[in-house]
């Protein structure tokens, strides 16, 4: 389904494609307290992952994909 931009966070759902990366990047940069919800995310493209790693938004909710949560945890640590 891609990304739903909500009031406090962006919800990344199902499969987030490479096209969504730029929109997400711009949106996250505008936020004072950037946050994303990855709980319904099945797969995200490497470009989107890169955006998340660059901006390091707060992650709301659980991350179901162990590899993804590991990847995000590593860089935040």
């Amino acid at each position: 389904m891609g990304i739903r931009y909500l009031k406090k966070h962006a919800a990344l759902e199902d499969i987030v494609t490479v096209e969504d990366a730029e929109g997400l990047f711009d949106w996250l940069k505008q936020q004072a307290k950037p946050a994303v919800n990855l709980s319904k995310c099945v797969h995200l493209h490497a470009a989107v992952l890169q955006v998340l790693l660059m901006v390091r938004p707060k992650v709301v909710g659980a991350v179901n994909d162990p590899l993804l949560s590991q990847a995000l945890a590593h860089t935040q640590a």
Partner: protein, 792 residues
């Protein structure tokens, strides 16, 4: 698909694989450092090995496996590819091809093959420069990753390895670590490095990092990839490399076993590592037992057919081999004692009785872990990796979505061809029927309807024939492929430096034409190598490049295929040819001197001609170019030779595209009908008796200012009656081409032309000269087709 079909498929694929492997080996010799070629070669050999594993062809698998290991090392750059290696590999592949032949013939490999295969395998392993750790590897095939680095010196750890936890050294001594740094522009190529990385086979750990530090958010470009993936995988090295093959240059991969573990890790390898290994063995064993139980259930279900029983038996046998401990080998022996046609119940009983024990009871004698690789299917995610890129990589032919290829045995197509031939003949009976309806039964209306129906059937049959012909078309490249090897082997043996250039290998022709070409072409190329191309020093002295060139080119011209074989060698010395022909008593001396140089060169086509004074294994037996010419003419082709002394020789073969259907002209002599192939006929004329000049026994006439010798077909075939004239006292003359001249054949009547399926004479009739073959006519009669060349 039952077992025989599977086996047929295996043979087919193995042959194809071997052919390609042979080709790649030769290609690599030209470009030994081309990683693309090496990868391709490795993949082919790997496939072949995997296929062997499906069946119990140990002797074959042993050789191929050794080859695979060697190539794996070459591919990783641990060994340099050299000629010895090429020789050993070619020899091994030759032997494998022999084994495939044997499998096709007998369905199995004779036990005697073991010795030779072990020998070849150890010859290959000897090239791994380290002493082979365990020569008969087939007994317990270890994984490739494990086999290769056995004696490899430990290489220092790259710094990036530190990103991984140091546990793997203890728990997964066989694992490989890799670092994948996608190029910055990769997103624009449709790649998803994250997906690729996380789908790595056997992934144990994945670390995501950056290649450089993140730039300021303000001027960052989210579409420039700055990710770096470091992973740990317990799949064999080759699988990991295969997984990343599209981005091979962005990948670094190292087997852990080749690395010196970082400080600390080395001291504690024992207990935990062993425990992990034990755990693995236990899992494997449990899986094997599960399969065992499934098989037993299958047997107990009742109503199992003999095929199922045989399959179960094979599966059980494989399982026992995989377990390979003492009890398993005992069970294997007792299984061998079961009768070949054992019933389902009996086998079920046996299986229940001999079920291998759980690990708990055999813990003190840990069984060998078998290769998790080849005999088992590839990991499932292998198939998921970006299919688009795969297709581009492997060529459109392999991509199921674009191009579906059906592999069919040749004999099936041959059968189709025979059937359509009969169809054509049967169809040709309809006009006779129409004629009979009209003349015999006075049913003109019916006759017309039959003719109308005939037209429809005729059209369909022609289309069908055309379609089948298309199926039978094969690119000439299939036989050109063999030349590379031939040229390589012979030129090395003779100490010559020869380059083979092949052009137009995509040109297509009928399968039979192509196949009957193989031998003549090999002969011609051998001649070029042996007599044509000179030794390098002679060439340099003559002002030519030291490397000789043989150029084989094929192209299509209207309904014929032209194949030219050029060499830039010494050419043919007409004087020497004349002299040799006289020496061998092939032509009288006075005649030899009157021949022009071009004509003299053609003497090499005479049977029994040879210029070589000694008989070598290459030439000198006097069965040379005449065999070539006979073979080519048998398929209605022709050979032309031109040679410039000192410059080179050119042979030009002209062949029909297809030889399934022959157009013949039907003639009559002494009340009998004969066919004459249309492509040999120059014209049909009626010649008045007054225009025939008699000179002793010979008769000639002048046609369009040229003297044409006349022969009566009746005399040539020893028919009783003389040729008959029509009421204007004219003879019917069929002018045919015989070699370079035209000859007139006196016949009684012309009957028009017909398309026929020419069947060559077989059995006792095969020795009959003067006839090209026979054909069945629509009215059921047999037409003898003349071969004027042999007749005159």
């Amino acid at each position: 698909m039952n077992q025989t079909e599977l086996l047929d498929q295996f043979i087919l694929e193995a042959r194809e694989c071997l052919e390609q492997v042979g080709q790649r080996l030769l290609d690599i010799e030209k470009a030994p450092t081309d990683p693309e070629l090496l990868n391709d070669l490795f993949r082919l050999v790997h496939t072949l090995k995997g296929n062997c594993g499906l069946f119990e062809f140990k002797a074959m698998e042993r050789v191929v496996h050794a080859g695979e290991d060697l190539l794996d090392r070459v591919r990783q750059g641990a060994l340099a590819y050299n000629n010895d290696m090429a020789d050993a590999l070619l020899e091994a592949m030759d032997y494998t091809a022999q084994l495939v032949d044997q499998i096709e013939r007998d369905g199995k490999i004779a036990a005697s093959a073991d010795g030779r295969s072990t020998q070849l395998a150890s010859a290959l392993r000897a090239l791994l420069n380290a002493p082979p750790p365990a020569p008969p590897i087939a007994a317990a095939p270890s994984s490739q990753a494990a086999a290769a680095p056995a004696t490899e010196p430990a290489s220092p750890c790259p710094a990036w390895v530190e990103a991984l936890p140091d546990q793997p050294w203890r728990t997964h001594p066989q694992a490989v670590i890799w670092r994948y740094q996608p190029e910055p522009e990769c997103f624009f190529k449709g790649e998803d490095p994250w997906l690729l990385a996380r789908q790595t086979p056997g992934l144990l750990h994945l670390h995501v990092g950056t290649q450089t530090d993140w730039p300021d958010l303000a001027d960052a470009d989210c579409y420039r990839c700055n990710l770096s993936f470091i992973g740990l995988s317990d799949a064999p090295l080759a699988y990991v490399e295969d997984h990343f093959r599209c981005v091979a240059e962005q990948l670094e991969v190292l087997p852990l076993s080749r690395l010196a573990p970082p400080s600390g890790a080395a001291q504690a390898p024992t207990s935990t590592a062993e425990q992990a290994a034990q755990r693995h063995i236990q899992t494997l064993r449990q899986r094997a037992l599960q399969i065992w139980d499934d098989q037993v259930q299958l047997l107990n279900r009742g109503g199992a057919r003999p095929g199922t029983v045989a399959a179960v038996r094979r599966a059980l046998h494989q399982l026992l081999q995989a377990l390979s401990d003492d009890t398993a080998s005992q069970a294997q022996d007792s299984m061998a004692a079961l009768p070949a046609d054992v019933s389902a119940a009996a086998l079920g009983h046996w299986a229940a009785a001999h079920r291998p024990a759980d690990l708990a009871s055999t813990e003190d004698s840990p069984p060998e872990v078998t290769d998790p690789g080849s005999p088992w299917p590839m990991p499932a995610d292998e198939a998921l990796t970006s299919p688009g890129q795969d297709a581009a990589r492997r060529g459109a032919g392999d991509d199921p979505a674009h191009h579906k290829v059906l592999k069919v045995g040749q004999e099936k197509i041959d059968r189709l061809m025979d059937l359509i031939g009969e169809m054509v003949v049967a169809k040709n009976a309809l006009p006779y029927l129409a004629q009979r309806a009209e003349t015999h039964f006075q049913q003109r209306e019916l006759a017309r309807e039959i003719k109308a129906q005939y037209a429809v059937i005729n059209r369909i049959a022609e289309d069908m024939q055309h379609a089948i012909m298309q199926v039978r078309m094969m690119p000439v490249g299939t036989i050109f492929q063999r030349f590379g090897r031939l040229v390589r082997d012979i030129s090395r043996k003779l100490g010559k430096d020869v380059q083979l250039v092949i052009e137009g290998e995509d040109t297509e022709a009928d399968k039979n034409v192509i196949e009957s070409l193989a031998d003549p072409l090999i002969h011609i190329i051998r001649n070029s190598l042996d007599h044509g191309i000179e030794m390098p020093d002679v060439r340099t002295r003559a002002g030519k490049a030291a490397q000789g060139t043989i150029r084989v080119s094929a192209r299509q011209e209207s309904d014929r295929v032209l194949i030219e074989i050029n060499d830039d060698g010494a050419g043919i010395d007409p004087q020497r040819i004349r002299q040799k022909a006289i020496e061998r008593g092939l032509i009288p001396e006075d005649k030899a001197q009157t021949l022009s140089d071009t004509e003299a060169v053609q003497l090499i086509f005479l049977p029994g001609f040879s210029t070589a004074d000694t008989i070598s294994d290459l030439s000198g037996r006097g069965v040379g170019m005449d065999v070539v010419r006979t073979a080519v003419e048998r398929i209605n082709g022709s050979v032309e030779l031109s040679s410039q002394f000192g410059k080179g020789t050119c042979l030009r073969l002209s062949l029909p595209l297809s030889m399934a259907v022959t157009n013949v002209m039907i003639i009559e002599a002494a009340g009998r009908r004969f066919g004459v192939p249309m492509d040999l006929i120059v014209e049909t004329v009626r010649v008045h008796t007054d225009d025939i000049h008699h000179f002793k026994q010979a008769r000639t006439t002048v046609l369009r200012g040229r003297i044409v010798p006349l022969q009566a077909l009746h005399d040539l075939l020893a028919l009783e009656a003389p040729p008959v004239m029509n009421e204007d006292s004219e003879y019917a003359v069929l002018v045919v081409r015989a070699g370079h001249e035209s000859v007139g054949l006196l016949v009684d009547l012309f009957h028009g032309s017909s398309d026929i399926i020419l069947k060559p004479l077989e059995g006792v009739l095969a020795g009959l000269t003067g006839f090209a073959g026979t054909a069945l006519m629509g009215d059921g009669s047999v037409l003898m087709v003349l071969n004027p060349k042999e007749l005159l």
